[in-house]
Symmetry: D2
Subunit: 148 residues, 4 copies
């Protein structure tokens, strides 16, 4: 019932910064993919290698919405905090926030992925099973009557 | 008065695809940055090199919202169509749609950037001047009473 | 008998430059992969999509040696010139040179790839067939008694 | 007299793999840049942010030579081992070897960078000072009469 947070830390590297000396924004979005990957490999117990290579199972992106709230600079450690906003039949919507660790915010995002069978010519949604759903549950943001 | 479209074409390369054989989605978002870069260097007459190196002027991302509507596969030519949804004092909001050229849609995006002075410690919004505004105007989507 | 050159042009983008304002060198190496990809898809008539997806055929890198001879700056058009130094049973060694178009040199590289069957657990070299060999021949640097 | 090894570990991510399911080789080369960056920020006490932003000091690549000795697969932890082969007046040559942690080799590289003053129009070599040289010394591969 808690709304646990999964936190991953990524140091902003030289090659991820642009000539303005701050993060090139597509690299910050790549890190959104990283934190989802690390969450699956960690608490969810589904690493992407087994998923894609063994099981023809994947989680393509369906939607992404990001507000960039402050700059991230070369060498800063960015804390990416992942929570789950919603679990549908096949889709998962994440609430992801990144900040300079111990400092100012960098981005806030909503990101939806869809569990898919990849064995055919085109990804086909498939239901998230109960075992996986149970491992995801602790990260679900509790619903309240209030607006977040 | 038309709402001109600026189209750029990018072939989806091997290194931009993932083990599922389709585009790794952060690379599709990187191409959103490319089409903005190509539009500035082309019709707007402001290449990023002169902008950043000479003039301490930059256009950091403020927001991005993307719906992924279909897969993009290795070797496909993607047509990125850029139009301008809104020009504010310092901000520009783009409407960007990508599709397999002559084929199915790949993504639809809204993307807002902010013209900034980069000479200080932190990017500071600065007004878009009239000359640049005039060059942007033809790409502005005409307002109508209808929903798009 | 000529030693034809295959030239591809890539503009150095904002996101490929680092905080020093010059190309982040792994991006210049990524472009070495691009010119090989474009050469296969062009004169060799083997696009990577058909190759990898249809035929379980691939060309993993075996070796790469690069000398960086001058900086490449944001916005510059880089001309990548590819020639073939050697065709073995399964391997191809390229001579690749990049320069600012109409300007100073950026890099000189030797790059060896190996034609492989990818259907097994591990890439397995397979001979380059005569048809492909014939299409590669015009790009072969003529052997002389002199050192290059 | 030791020839210490600096080891960094990087998990091969989904977005760093190609449609063949193995590492896209330019990403393995990007990790060569990472281990150099981590070595400077760690034992050498010179993080790239301070170096580039504060001091107009940088270490552009001069040369790179890589042999790819085995595939790296999605999800594998790669151990990058860095030693110093040679310290010149302004240049540093690294010996870098990567392997699947506890497993087979992935690559062996020689990589030369040059300490440069970046305040002018073009990078200009500058001598490595004695303090930095002393911190680099433990990683120097001892010279012997034998070939490695």
């Amino acid at each position: 019932m808690s709304g646990e947070v999964f936190r991953a830390r990524y140091t902003l590297r030289f090659g991820q910064c642009d000539p303005a000396g701050i993060a090139f924004f597509p690299r910050l979005i790549e890190m959104i993919n990283w934190v989802v990957e690390d969450w699956f490999a960690g608490p969810i117990g589904q690493d992407f290698a087994t998923m894609h290579m063994g099981a023809n199972f994947g989680v393509p992106a369906a939607a992404l919405s990001v507000d960039f709230v402050g700059p991230a600079r070369l060498g800063e450690v960015l804390a990416y905090d992942l929570r789950v906003a919603k679990i549908g039949t096949s889709s998962i919507t994440f609430d992801i926030r990144a900040a300079v660790e111990g400092g100012a915010g960098v981005l806030r995002a909503r990101h939806t992925i869809v569990a898919c069978d990849l064995s055919g010519a085109r990804p086909r949604p498939r239901p998230i099973d109960d075992a996986m759903r149970a491992r995801m549950a602790p990260f679900l943001i509790p619903e309240t009557g209030d607006k977040a």
